[in-house]
Amino acid sequence: MRRPSLSTALLWPALLVMVPLLLGPLLLLAHESLKPFVGGRIGGDESGALTLQNYAQIADPQYVRYFLDTFRVGLLATAFALVLGFPVAHFIVRRAGPTMRRLMVGGLVGTLFLSIIVRVYAIAMTFGPHGPLSDFSRLFGISASSPDGAELMVVLGLLNSTLPLVALTLIGTLQNINPRLEDAALSLGAPRWKTFFQITVAMSLPGILSAAIIAYAFCISNLVVPMLVGRGFIVFVSNLIYFRFSEVANFPSGAALSMVMMVISVALFYGLLSLVRSHWQEAGK
């Protein structure tokens, strides 16, 4: 016999702490985003009628550009993370010995734990004008000082975080795929590359998509990387929200941008993720 009273009792502290902390800010942000902006004061006009002008402003091509930059750069960093992260996860699950596995998983978790400022600083020092790998951008035919160079640095900075996220997620996926399926394909004469793509990659698709969604959600909400290495050429929506707060004190506009960004992130995460899960669960039946 279950005791519903106890399980609800355990939930109460969390509800008392988290509901006000979550709902209060979000409701006030929604309200703020509907206030008219009056220059020269912090926060929207309290007495004015509510308006949608802050949202209408976001549809302006000048603003849309920031959203497109955010989505494009995020997509690049996610794609590179998948291409590099999948083989590494595969290596850790299938080929590495116990010590190697522990070392590599430790390295991945360590990278994730290390302050993002420190990691971006280290990348700026490595690929920057005086760094040992300063010629890296030339491989892509990009000048380091150009806007494209800034974009490359932002991609590298994001990649440093998305790689461990993707690899750790894919380790979880790959270790639940029966290794005998690969062995069977190989012993039946299939080449290694074909086995890899048609068995391993194909069976990992739900995991690959989940990893991509997690990495992408991380990228498009990022603030620190464009702030430190974007050099003003690459400005994410998060940076724009921060400017609205710190430089022009246009709270209503910042709040409207926040609401849009929140809806995009939540829809992307829960929407796509549940789509991926339901699709593959049905296919598995």
Binding site: L6, S7, L10, G24, F91, F113, Y121, L163, L168, F245
Partner: protein, 273 residues
């Protein structure tokens, strides 16, 4: 032909793995080497002479010192609150049978998905509406919000394999609900709770997005202090600081491995060796 294709595949596979490792390791090495640079400016790599001048400067800087103290106090207390409340909530939800359970879980985990900048901005407006202007209180509100979901998620994950029948067996053997919880469920969820607390602490300690909105002139966290310094001048004090961060991170990983095991994070899988 098959042999050639396989060799090509093997080469591509191993080069991608090598590239990954190189990309993760080289910047860290560069930062460590630069922190010992004797030159007074950021010059071409590698440095020609070495010294500890940047460490001296970092240790003498009260700005970083204040930030470090604030960050440690903040991360410790926010993690403590989040761990107690979050672990209880995860255990409660694990045993719960009422409808709407999934919705409550998703809502409580939502700070993981909402961009930090949005949370920081929201908490700022919320706190000022409540008349809270004190930096530490505001930061605490924001940091409990972002650390809580980590503890709840990992605790919930560690409970997945634990059957409710253990708890029920304890009850039928005469244990009181709270006693069964304390002596049966809690020890079983231990690794999850510890891993969650470590994740929460690190998240709070490294946070920028939320803290930038909530700091005031007298209360600022270490990452915010570093950011302010980086925009002022890009000297190598930050490289020395980075080395401190790297050492601390390695220590945390080793402790995490000893206490909870790194496998608590990745799991072993159905076909685990």
């Amino acid at each position: 032909m098959k042999r050639f294709a396989d060799a090509l595949f093997q080469t591509a596979y191993l080069s991608l793995v090598t590239l990954f490792v190189a990309f993760s390791v080289i910047p860290v090495v560069v930062a460590v080497v630069l922190s010992f640079d004797a030159r007074g400016f950021v010059g071409p790599f590698p440095p020609t002479q070495f010294s500890l001048r940047w460490y001296d400067r970092f240790l003498a800087d009260s700005y970083y010192h204040d930030g470090l103290v604030t960050s440690l106090v903040l991360a410790t207390s926010a993690t403590f609150i989040a761990t107690v409340v979050g672990a209880l909530a995860a255990i409660g939800l694990h045993h719960a049978t009422f409808r709407g359970k999934g919705l409550i879980q998703a809502a409580l985990l939502s700070p993981l998905v909402i961009p930090n900048v949005v949370l920081g901005f929201g908490v700022l407006i919320f706190a000022s509406r409540l008349g809270i202007l004190d930096g530490m209180t505001r930061l605490m509100m924001g940091h409990v919000l972002i650390t809580f979901p980590y503890v709840m998620r990992t605790t919930a994950a560690s409970l997945v394999g634990i059957r409710a029948s253990y708890y029920e067996a304890a009850l039928s053997l005469g244990a009181k609900p709270l006693g069964a919880l304390w002596q049966v469920t809690l020890p079983l969820a231990r690794t999850g709770i510890i891993a969650g607390a470590v994740f929460g602490f690190v998240t709070s300690f490294d946070d920028v997005g939320v803290s930038l909105f909530l700091t005031d002139a007298f209360t600022f966290t270490l990452p915010v202090a570093i950011l302010a310094q980086m925009r002022a001048n890009l000297d190598l004090t930050i490289a020395a600081l980075s080395v401190m961060f790297i050492v601390a991170t390695v220590l945390i990983i080793v402790i995490l491995d000893r206490v909870a095991g790194l496998d608590a994070i990745t799991g072993r899988g159905v076909y685990g060796r």
